[in-house]
């Protein structure tokens, strides 16, 4: 690890001021993503400003929805009865990610801000524009089986790995921040950006801009998260899908669908969403919507498998959210979210 200094922040304002005036400073919360990148030599900050002791650990009612403090742990958010009952996609995504130990420490702001799992990004001996702008992209011609289908560029084909970010994108959560220029609100789908020619920037956050809370807007529909991975538990998604469905009698009033691990950000399937609005839910409709969503996919050499897998996953997520098919486990738990069974138990084929 490169040497760095460490400071514990006493207030959000102080944390923002300290990081803003020092270009080599970064925030650290739970550290579960950050410490690993320090060890790998990917991060070489001069100063870590620890925001984990800030009073941002409450979940409160807010404008008919919920305000989740930036420092609330993934475990605490997933355990909240309000979150589980009103926004099961959020707790399903959280509980299907990482492990109990990691979730106990990982924060709600840190999770969506974790970096890509592109293996070349984590290996300082490889070319990577995200780690070192201008050095090239080893994944483009390398082994790119976990890489992007949508919105990639010649500079970077990485995907964003967070599970909960996908659910938050589908629910149009809002991110509250305090930055060098004061507070602002960011619509969650706008938080992350596409790589373009500047893949070293994952989000639109400015240097020194601190997330203070993630707000879930009022929502009375159903939501659900589904994830496929290489092993039953404790693995990142190959493809995932979050659905937020609001009904109007027997018809869909509004459907929001976000796909995970297929792009540099949670990928809202807007063409599919438009097809679903006003329609009566049927498997046929869902298949057509999934076809539309994946029509724009641009697979790389090793990730074409994600197209049929993602299409099928999206159909299933829509069927389960609209109750045309039962959830495979209790809503709001990892068991509802895990495709292909959970640890130690293989789901019976449908």
């Amino acid at each position: 690890m490169h040497p760095f200094q460490y400071q514990r922040a006493d207030s959000a304002e102080q944390a923002v001021a300290t990081v803003t005036k020092n270009p080599a400073a970064t925030f650290i919360a739970g550290g579960t993503s950050h410490v690993d990148l320090l060890k790998e030599g990917v991060y070489r900050p001069g100063l870590l400003v620890d925001v984990s002791a800030l009073p941002l650990r409450q979940i409160t009612a807010h404008e008919g929805g919920l305000r989740i403090g930036a420092g609330v742990s993934n475990t605490a958010a997933a355990a909240s009865a309000e979150v589980r009952q009103r926004y099961p996609a959020v707790s399903e995504a959280l509980l299907a990610g990482a492990s109990v130990q990691i979730r106990n420490v990982a924060s709600m702001a840190g999770n969506p801000l974790q970096r890509t799992r592109c293996p070349y990004f984590r290996d300082p001996t490889q070319a990577c524009n995200k780690r070192e702008p201008g050095s090239g992209c080893a994944a483009l011609e390398g082994y790119n089986h976990v890489h992007a289908l949508f919105g990639a560029s010649a500079a970077c084909v990485a995907t964003h790995p967070s599970d909960v970010a996908v659910a938050l994108a589908a629910l149009d959560a809002r991110v509250q921040t305090l930055g060098p220029k004061g507070p602002r609100t960011i619509a969650f789908p706008e938080l992350h950006r596409l790589p373009g020619t500047t893949p070293h920037l994952d989000t639109i956050l400015e240097h020194g801009e601190l997330i203070t809370s993630i707000d879930l807007p009022a929502f009375t529909g159903r939501s659900h998260y589904l994830k496929v991975r290489e092993r039953a538990s404790y693995a990142y998604a190959l493809v995932s899908c979050a659905v937020a469905l609001e009904m109007d009698g027997p018809n869909i009033r509004r459907a929001r669908v976000a796909l995970g691990s297929v792009a540099h950000k949670p990928w809202r399937a807007t063409s599919a969403e438009a097809m679903l609005a006003g329609q009566r839910p049927t498997e046929q409709l869902f298949r057509a919507a999934a076809d539309a969503a994946f029509a724009e996919a641009k697979p790389l050499k090793h990730n074409a498998y994600k197209v049929p897998m993602g299409r099928q996953l999206m159909v299933r997520a829509l069927l389960e959210t609209s109750s045309l098919q039962p959830l495979q486990g209790p809503a709001g738990t990892a068991f509802a979210a895990s495709v292909g069974g959970v640890a130690g138990q293989v789901a019976s084929p449908r």
Binding site: M1, P3, F4, Q5, Y6, Q7, I28, G31, T32, V35, D36, L38, K39, L48, D50, S52, A53, T75, A76, A78, A79, L95, A98, S99, V100, Q101, I102, R103, N104, V105, A232, S233, Y234, A334, F335, V342, A343, G344, Q345
Partner: protein, 351 residues
């Protein structure tokens, strides 16, 4: 090394050589110490008495062998006297090197380890050198005289063993797992708090306070193992992928390899050493024994810490086998003792 070597001692003393007489830092002469084993340790002056377990170890060595063996280097504050750039190092031909010599009762070098400058001291060669001294079987020692088959007295051999252990703990010694130790000695300049980049950190572990001077890069895992010698917590992957390093932070399970020690200040840290009460095992430990929930045992402390924290976990609700498996998925077991681990946890849950 640019220091000139005295031509009369061009090479390090070899095993079997008679050590030259010389004056020791405390004013005594080596020949005066004949009749008991002597350990001479040379080190660069990076000895750091703030590394608590090192001072403790030497205090123990003194207490145990002070009357017999002469640990001329035993106390932390005398360590500098055997600076590897000193005259003594010249006489022994180890200028600028880290070295350990064991002299027997006749003043003959029976065993030595020398680390060339720029090289890392690794346990392998030290242990191999020690192995060469080791009696093939306990029966090979004559009980009457305590003389081993190798010609050494048992006390000399035990002294060598302890000396080897001490050597391995020297700053700059790179064991497979202690990278951060060395870095701690070369910490960033102007680190907040002190000039050498070390921070004063008090960790509360198993209901005791441990004041430490730590480089901010030291993980909680390395602080426990390398600085405090609480080696029950294991290092498997060091990247959050195996669960071997699981401890409790304020009662919840957490990975000590992904936690910086400075960040865990102010939290109640519990390690596997803190689970039992005296000789009485924690029920989970007893259940692991009863159900044979391990083979090699390397993952076991982490498994037990994860399992005990689960009993209070808010996201594990029914305690069914399926749920426990999912909740324990952060702890890998290379020996695949999973069914027995599950049985042990279920038994404690039912109790």
């Amino acid at each position: 090394m640019s220091l000139p070597l005295k031509p009369e001692f061009p090479l390090a003393l070899q095993t079997g050589d008679l050590a030259p007489d010389c004056e020791l830092p405390d004013g005594s002469r080596l020949t005066e110490l004949r009749g008991r084993p002597v350990v001479l340790a040379f080190a660069p002056d990076t000895w750091d008495p703030t590394l608590a377990h090192q001072s403790e170890l030497f205090a123990q060595l003194l207490a145990e062998f002070g009357s017999g063996a002469a640990f001329v280097d035993a106390a932390a504050d005398e360590w500098h006297a055997l600076d590897c750039r000193g005259e003594l190092a010249e006489r022994f031909g180890v200028v600028g090197k880290r070295a350990l010599f064991l002299l027997d009762e006749q003043g003959i070098v029976r065993w030595k380890t020398v680390v060339e400058p720029g090289e890392d001291l690794r346990p392998g060669p030290v242990l191999a050198a020690l192995e060469a001294l080791h009696p093939p079987t306990p029966a090979a020692a004559s009980p009457a005289t305590g003389v081993l088959a190798s010609g050494l007295t048992r006390r000399t051999f035990v002294t060598a063993t302890l000396a080897a252990a001490a050597l391995l703990l020297l700053p700059g010694c790179r064991t497979e797992s202690s990278d951060t130790n060395e870095q701690a000695a070369t910490g960033s300049a102007d680190g907040a708090g002190s000039g050498n980049g070390l921070l004063a950190v008090t960790l509360r572990i198993n209901d005791k306070n441990y004041p430490l001077q730590l480089d901010p890069r030291v993980t909680l895992l390395d602080a426990l193992r390398e600085h405090l010698h609480l080696t029950g917590t294991k290092k498997g992957c060091d990247h959050g992928q195996c669960g071997a390093c699981t401890v409790h932070l304020n009662g919840q399970s957490a990975l000590s390899c992904l936690t910086l020690a400075v960040m865990s200040q102010g939290q109640e840290i519990t390690t596997i050493e803190g689970l039992s009460t005296g000789e009485a095992l924690h029920p989970m430990q007893a259940a692991f024994l009863k159900h044979d929930a391990f083979q090699c045992g390397y993952c076991t402390p982490g498994q037990i810490m994860a399992a005990t924290a689960l009993l209070q976990d808010q996201t594990t609700r029914t305690g069914s086998a399926v749920e426990l498996r999912e909740a324990m998925s952060g702890n890998l077991c290379r020996c695949a003792a999973y069914p027995n681990i599950l049985a042990a946890i279920q038994e404690v849950q039912r109790a």
